[in-house]
């Protein structure tokens, strides 16, 4: 090959390189200059492959299970009621459609009687789960009469009617009576054996009619444990990650306001979307709710789960130190239906309460999250040798004046007896758990009163630790 030809070939090589670079540049210019840029983040939900995305069914579990011994004594399984529920659900699924099922409503007296005077098993769910959707999702064939049950709040089986399953929906209790199913439902009750601690109805211990369960004596291995906010390590990075996840490619054009206390607010437009990041590591996101087609309870729950997965996440080991659904409710109707979900954190299987509310709270309309609050942390639950807790009855007696003052706003308590009767009458739930107090997890009695009020008292000293309203 002559020298000239070789040189000519080298020029051609250079021209190819230049033309190729020009093609890339021109493509970039056309792509960038395209009037409406394609927003990839709207097409693909940007959740990284390693992100934990739980299924909705993982959250539809009983909050706690109560065993009734038939002699007005009970025991409660609070930490993990899932195995009992899972086996009961499996049994119902396997037998779905095999029997004709009759549905009748029973009275409140009958319900109380079958739990007090007969061996019983009661599974209490954390909120209003629409019954029709629950059946559909769980593969349970619906029969005539099922439509009268609006929500699934509790499931009860009792020796009083061992062939039946009872479903509590709000204030109503329905009996599901599968023809010929006695043997397999009854078998669940055979295994019920007395176990510590024993609970009695508050009315039996304190007087009155209240059927809320109170333990006579209670021991616990819970001790004060460390808790730190998920944003504590690097608040600037965590805040930015949360804001980027919410505002996406608009992040750089979002108004950013910082106050003198280190609280940061991101505001898009004239407040159409705001994200507040507190200095202590909590987040609150708001936008205008939109009306639209209702995706249903499970559809909304799945949207909520997915939203959390993309905005803060469910943690790497959700089951070990994760979240449980502690409240679910529905407001409004039609295209304006709103779903509320609350998730609390658990440490070592024990629920964490806080005066500031649950770890995660969401409100959705038309399948879209318009309110999201998050105050999550990393907990390291430590256990010690079991020791006796203050009796729940004594906690109530010793603090009834305080609770009366707070609930009524009346600082002058007429008499301790009156305050005590008032509190006992309003008592709805007594349980133990952790309370987040000054950055630590304190073992506590949780006294739940009518109207969603929770009071927290030290488990071993009955000292007030706060309340929620």
């Amino acid at each position: 090959m002559s020298e000239n030809k070789r040189r000519f070939e080298r020029i051609k090589d250079a021209v190819i390189v230049v033309l190729f670079i020009m093609t890339i540049l021109l493509l970039y210019l056309v792509w960038r200059g395209y009037p409406q840029k394609i927003n990839l983040s709207e097409i693909f939900e940007l959740i990284s492959p390693g992100t934990v995305l739980p299924r909705a069914e993982e959250f539809i579990k009983p909050d706690f299970v109560v065993y009734g011994y038939g002699d007005a004594a009970f025991s409660a399984e609070i930490q993990d009621a899932s195995p009992i529920y899972d086996s009961l659900l499996k049994m119902v699924q396997e037998n779905s459609g095999k029997y004709a099922v009759g549905v009748t409503e029973i009275s409140a007296e009958q319900k109380a009687q079958m739990m007090r005077e007969y061996k019983s098993l009661r599974l209490v769910f954390p909120g209003d789960i629409p019954f029709a959707e629950f059946c559909e999702r769980s593969g349970i064939e619906r029969q005539s009469g099922y439509e009268s049950v609006q929500f699934l709040n509790e499931i009860i089986i009792s020796e009083a009617a061992p062939e039946s399953i009872f479903v509590v929906s709000g204030d109503s209790c329905y009996r599901f009576w599968p023809d010929g199913a006695e043997e397999f439902i009854g078998s669940y009750l055979d295994g019920i054996k007395s176990q510590e601690p024993i609970f009695y109805a508050a009315g039996d211990i304190l007087g009155g009619e209240n059927s809320t369960l109170l333990p006579l004596h209670f021991s616990s291995s819970l001790v004060r444990s460390v808790w730190k906010s998920e944003a504590q390590e690097d608040p600037v990075r965590t805040n930015k990650e949360m804001a980027v996840s919410i505002f996406g490619e608009n992040f750089d054009f979002v108004r950013r306001i910082t106050d003198n206390f280190g609280n940061l607010t991101y505001m898009y437009g004239y407040g159409q979307k705001t994200l507040s990041c507190s200095a202590e590591g909590s987040y609150e996101y708001r936008m205008m709710p939109s009306a639209g087609a209702d995706p249903g309870f499970y559809g909304s729950l799945e949207s909520a789960i997915s939203f959390v997965a993309g905005h803060g996440g469910w943690g790497d080991e959700r089951k070990a130190s994760g979240y449980i659904l502690t409240h679910a409710s529905v407001e409004g109707s039609g295209r304006d239906k709103i779903y509320n979900f609350e998730f609390s954190q658990v440490a070592g299987g024990v629920r964490i309460y806080s005066e500031k509310g649950p770890a995660i709270r969401l409100r959705l309309s038309a399948g879209e999250v318009f309110y999201y609050s998050r105050r999550a942390g990393l907990a390291n639950a430590t256990m010690a040798e079991e020791k006796e807790a203050v009796d729940a009855a004594n906690v109530l007696a010793g603090n009834c004046n305080l609770m009366y003052n707070i609930l009524t706003g009346d600082l002058l308590v007429p008499s301790s007896d009156k305050a005590f009767s008032y509190v006992v009458e309003k008592l709805e739930r007594v349980s133990s758990g952790y309370v987040l107090n000054r950055g630590m997890l304190e073992p506590a009695w949780i006294i739940g009163l009518e109207g969603g009020n929770n009071f927290f008292f030290g488990l071993y000293d009955a000292e007030p630790l706060g309340f929620t309203r």
């Binding site: 190819i16 093609t23 210019l29 054009f253 108004r255 306001i257």
Partner: protein, 178 residues
Amino acid sequence: MDWSKAKNLIIAALLVTNLVIGGQYLSMLHAETSRAEESLKAATEFLEEQGVKISADISVSSEKLPVLFVSIDRGSEDSDELEYKGRPLVVRAAQASVKILEPGQQAAWTISASEALLKLYASLKQEGSFYSGMEVKSADLVYVLNLKDSQSAAQDTAIPAWRIVTSRGTYYIDAYAR
């Protein structure tokens, strides 16, 4: 294989590709300019039909601008005239000394002046304060820091806005059109 011929083919293919994409890009640019001019003309005609007199020289093009992060010192009222790339920074709703910390990492296209005028008209009409005979005296791009809803802010964000001076008063329209 004859590499020399193959290279000729590649060069030809790349040339054709570049011509097509380049043509596409030029036509896009031309269309964009024509669209902006048409939109300004249509907006001006519409507003004049509604009784708005436009005596200002309205710019056709929009600009690519970032937000500005600023620090606020409410203890001091000595506020120098601040500007970023020739755009003045206007502090609204409070007296405070303001310092520009940094611009946002990315810039975005602002809306055109004609869009801003239409937005102003729609907004005045909606609140019932529009009147026929209103005169638009000027329209320019500025940065606005509105401290009305951030009274305790130590740091805030100034955003690009169209400042429209009319016979009725001065209005600011968010130039990102959100």
